[in-house]
Amino acid sequence: MKAFVTAVAVVGFSAVLTYVGLVTFDQSTAQRYEDGSVVLLDHPTSWEVD
């Protein structure tokens, strides 16, 4: 019982952590290819609907 509850907590916590991580390190396709000599649009793409 305790083990199960602990597992629920761990999974939940990890999911939240992952979500935060993904959102934090999110990159647009354009940024992915940035190489210094390219300066990207200073606004997000118009189609990010997520």
């Binding site: 019982m1 083990a3 602990t6 999974v11 990890s14 999911a15 952590l17 992952t18 979500y19 997520d50």
Partner: protein, 406 residues
């Protein structure tokens, strides 16, 4: 559940076996439907939407099909180019780009697809054999230099015609089998009934890891199934629900991955030694784990019997493949190109449905299917009699003094 609820097979006949029978019927129906789909359904894509001219288009009478408008415009590309603008080549009114075309639903588009897929002789002469063609592009993007990869069509067959259907068959088939077993044979009892004395089988870390992995697996399975079969599952809830639930499924699928991976590693460290194959496993398999025998003549096993070992190795090997392919898909192009990622996706999907089927059985046997099994992971302590019947050799190892129980 009282102690007397254990004991020989058949004591809990009514409740579980009726439920099993009902479930078996439902799964049989779903399975049959899936088989029918597999053989009957033509997976060819059909148009669903028609583009029609609206009534108020200038220069068009109502009902004139959109195709004529577009054809007039196409002619503009050609004749304007060849003869150039001049009074002899007046622009047809239809080509002026002031038409109004609407979309409406179509009921049967199969005729279109059939007609489209047959080239005329002239067209056939123009065509190349399908071939992977890649060149260069000034765009720095991965894949920008790709022109054609006929493999996409093969992938589609692999994904939508084989894995999706086969996966559904495997999962539904397994579910049907398990519920049929329940209906026909009921739960696996503790033949000697519960002794009331318990033996410590799994520690806190072991159980915690098991449940962490199990919960992650369930999360991944449900979200994965939602992704793969979303169309079938969510449509009854409405189109918007499909978008929203599907969207959260893709997110959830990623969110459960880290704990799943962590669980796999810990389990591997903890249990690999005890899961190495041994001679006993052959014996166990030969007797079908004693599952189909009413005699109570269970084959002897140490901590893990062959069935559990198979589940373990499915989890570890299958799980690691899932993690490897999954991470690959999370980081497009980092180490694989499009072809590699396509294969990763196929493998990911194929292994996923197999694992779900295998773990359906695991879940069944660990819960409804067998008296006393759930205790091992729930409290960590199992009844001595259960242990004696299923893991006699292990029981002797952990508790050699009390070898025999009257």
């Amino acid at each position: 559940m009282s102690d007397s609820a254990g004991g020989v097979r058949g004591r809990d006949f009514t409740g579980y076996r009726i439920a099993g029978a009902i479930a078996a019927l439902i799964f049989l129906f779903l399975l049959a439907w899936q088989v029918v789909l597999l053989f009957a359904a033509d997976s060819t894509v059909r148009p669903e939407v028609a583009i029609r001219a609206a009534g108020d288009s200038p220069g068009m009478h109502s009902g004139m099909i959109a195709a004529e408008t577009l054809a007039a415009r196409t002619r503009l590309l050609d004749e304007r180019f060849r003869t150039g603008p001049s009074p002899e080549a007046e622009v047809p009114a239809l080509a002026e780009g002031r038409a109004n075309l609407d979309s409406e639903s179509m009921t049967d588009g199969s005729a279109y697809t059939r007609a489209w897929s047959v080239p005329t002789e002239d067209e056939a002469a123009m065509m190349h054999q399908p071939d992977r063609i890649e060149g260069i592009s000034s765009l720095p993007y991965s894949n920008a230099a790709l022109f054609e990869r006929p493999f996409g069509r093969d992938w589609r067959i692999g994904m939508s015609d084989i894995i999706t259907h086969m996966g559904a068959l495997a999962i539904l088939g397994m579910a049907f089998l398990l519920s049929a077993v329940l209906a026909l044979r009921g739960r696996v009892p503790i033949r000697q009934g519960k002794s009331g004395r318990r033996v410590h089988r799994f520690g806190f870390v072991e159980r915690g890891t098991h449940w962490m992995t199990a919960l992650s697996f369930l999360g991944l399975s449900f979200t994965g199934i939602a992704i793969a079969y979303g169309e079938t599952l969510f449509v009854p809830l409405g189109e918007r629900a499909m978008g929203t639930l599907g969207w959260w499924s893709t997110w959830g699928h990623v969110l459960f991955a880290p704990t799943f991976f962590l669980g796999l590693i810990v389990m591997a460290v903890m249990w690999t030694a005890k899961n190495l194959p041994s001679k006993l496993d052959i014996q166990w398999i030969a007797k079908g784990g004693g599952f189909f025998s009413d005699s109570g003549d269970h084959p002897p096993a140490r901590k893990f019997n062959a069935g559990q070992k198979m589940v373990f190795w499915s989890a570890i090997l299958g799980g690691l493949i899932m993690v490897a392919t999954g991470v690959t898909l999370m980081f497009p192009y980092y180490w694989l190109d499009l072809a590699g990622m396509s294969w990763a996706m196929l493998i990911h999907a194929a292994i996923a449905v197999l694992l779900i089927a295998v773990f359906l059985a695991h879940i069944y046997i660990g819960s409804v299917g067998m008296h006393g099994a759930i205790d091992a992971m729930w409290s960590g302590k199992v009844d001595r009699n259960w242990a004696e019947e299923h893991h006699s050799l292990w029981l002797r190892e952990v508790d050699p003094k009390k070898e025999r129980t009257p």
